[in-house]
Amino acid sequence: MHQTTSTASHPRGSLELVRRFFANVPLLAWFCGALVAVILERAVGLSMAQSLGMPRIPVLFGFLVFLKQPALIPGALGYVLLMNILPICITAKIGAPVFNLVSRILYKMPLVVTALVHLAVLYAVFHFWADVNAYRMIMLKMMLISILLTLSLNVINGYMGEFSCSHPGFMALGAYAASLFTVGLFVNDQLFGPAMMTSDYAVVFFPLGLFFTGLVSALGALVIAIPSFKTRGDYLAIISLAFTFIIKSVLENLEFLGGPRGLSGQPDWSSLPMVFIIVVFGVWVINNFVTSTMGKALNAVRDDEIAAEAMTVDTRKTKIIAFMFAAFWAGVAGGLFAHVLRFVNPSTFGIQKLAEVLAMVYFGGLNSVYGSIVGAVSISLLGEALRPLEILKWIIIPLLLILVMIFRPRGLISFKEFNIHNLLKPRG
């Protein structure tokens, strides 16, 4: 017993050293460091890659290279070190005093301003990173969308503690509703005829459309919310599973939506800024909700419904709001998803999708906004990075998840609140 603790303390010790070394680095510095790194990559990435023996910039932090061309591993590692890790760390550490100063000034301003500045830098990082390659772009969009999806499922499965299997259904509702809106109104298309409106104002219409899309999903959520008054747990899981299958079957039967063939021809409106803004807004709203007492009522209902009722919590209202709210964002995510793929069909929204979101939620951590972000990002990155392994990937990812479940049954980062103030504050 003593031995294990002493061996375990060694890596923790060095990690602790690293942590302490960077203790005075505020978030802004990290973001700016990343910005420097991506800009540097744009400027000299290609020549750097070539001088390290690679034909082009490694897109996924070298992962694809590691798995496909072992001979290039040293090059890829060197690239990641020189182009990603070092610029970030050096900028962050050296610039820390300056960034702390800026942070301090920002911190005195209203939170909105501070947050917007950080987000703007973050967006710039994303933009430059993804701009290098279209593959990065599509991955990034998918990743952002899965954050929204995961977080919305976490509202039900984590915060309210139900095992809901209805998310593919909500997502399908959103994906189809949004497609119907854009394809029907803005696109010349065989199914719905010529465009009724011009797409000049996509920036306005698309978010608006997504809002209605979300409402459609939210209405669909009533099918599950109402039975949830009387039943919980396993039975509700089945009700929600049935919901998913019903939605899928309805879509297969609706000829005017393309039936099993699906619907294509969505305009290319899920641009990076659009996805970024909507996802950030969604995360902000969900975070607001779960930190309010009204949102905490979900936890109360989960942990002890009787006690919640006895403490004046309106459990029915709480459940309805939770389901509709989660469905709303799942629907929005579905709408974005449909416009990234520019194609939807019913079989996308089946058991496989369910397993995927469930994995993201439980991997990342229940009852935690952080957790959902970590879960969505790591599972989608892993899924993409391990693609070259083909079948082996489907052993590695499940094994990883099993290990996480065994050692952290509630996920990597569970029951941890997202504290914006703490995050944005200067550190020295």
Partner: protein, 257 residues
């Protein structure tokens, strides 16, 4: 007019008549005790009045309003708070959040406030937080505000439960065996806590206890329930000397402490 009036309430579990023709009237500010052997139906009476079970027969009027068969949260928002025999704290909420949660019906910021950081929400959350702290202080557990209930000592957890019930300044407070599992010392402290709370907030209290010491120290009036039926009602002294009570509950020799 009594604050709470229960008339002819009965309840069956399947074939078992757990509560039979039960009557009760509590005046504002009064402390009423309910004693009786295990399985007499005391907790069931609580659950019936607070709306967790719906009575098979009978009528419950609280604060002039018929609440028979109403949902628990509606009854609670009218000003009836309670604690539970086995503590029912929420596992993954901090102590402060527990107490804030009990003010759920006080929030008026609506969905807009829940989703967006409206000024109204920020103000209301802050107000309630203050209330919550005050309540925690009254029960002497404010130092645990950011703890999770699983980290609390037993006595503190019981007090948190009471702080949670009392934060809304209820008109009527139900306490189900507040001193169960306590050492005599802790029990005495608890009696003081309840007394102090009663002096400040002046709620009516309805209290289940097995410890006669608690009952006789606190209660103005005591009911004895046996097999779902009230067999005696009166002041603590009367009850302790009532032969029926002695036979069914106390045992032949008097147990005082």
């Amino acid at each position: 007019m009594p604050l709470l009036e229960v008339s002819n309430m009965s309840h069956n579990f399947g074939g078992l008549r757990a509560v039979n023709e039960y009557n009760l009237a509590i005046e504002p500010g009064q402390i009423v005790g309910l004693i009786g052997p295990n399985g007499a139906g005391k907790t069931t009476v609580f659950n019936l009045i607070t709306g967790i079970y719906r009575p098979t027969e009978g009528r419950i009027v609280f604060n002039g309003q018929d609440v028979t068969g109403h949902a628990p949260n509606r009854i609670a928002s009218l000003g009836l708070a309670r604690t539970f025999q086995e503590m029912r704290l929420w596992r993954h909420m901090t102590v402060l959040e527990h107490v804030k949660m009990a003010c759920y019906s006080k929030f008026t910021y609506g969905l807009a406030g829940a989703f967006l950081q409206t000024p109204k929400r920020i103000r209301e959350e802050a107000e309630v937080e203050e209330l919550a702290f005050a309540s925690l202080k009254m029960f002497g557990v404010e130092q645990f505000a950011s703890h999770w209930p699983t980290d609390l000592p037993y006595g503190a957890a019981r007090r948190v439960e009471m702080a949670r019930a009392a934060v809304t300044k209820p008109k009527l407070l139900f306490l189900d065996e507040p001193t169960v599992g306590m050492t005599p010392e802790e029990m005495l402290a608890m009696i003081e806590v309840v007394r102090k709370m009663h002096e400040t907030l002046k709620p009516a209290v309805f209290l289940i206890e097995h410890r006669l010491k608690v009952v006789s120290e606190l209660c103005h009036r005591v009911q004895t329930l046996v097999f779902g039926q009230v067999i005696a009602e009166g002041t603590p002294e009367e009850i302790q000397n009532n032969p029926k009570v002695i036979e069914a509950y106390l045992g032949e020799e008097k147990v005082v402490a």
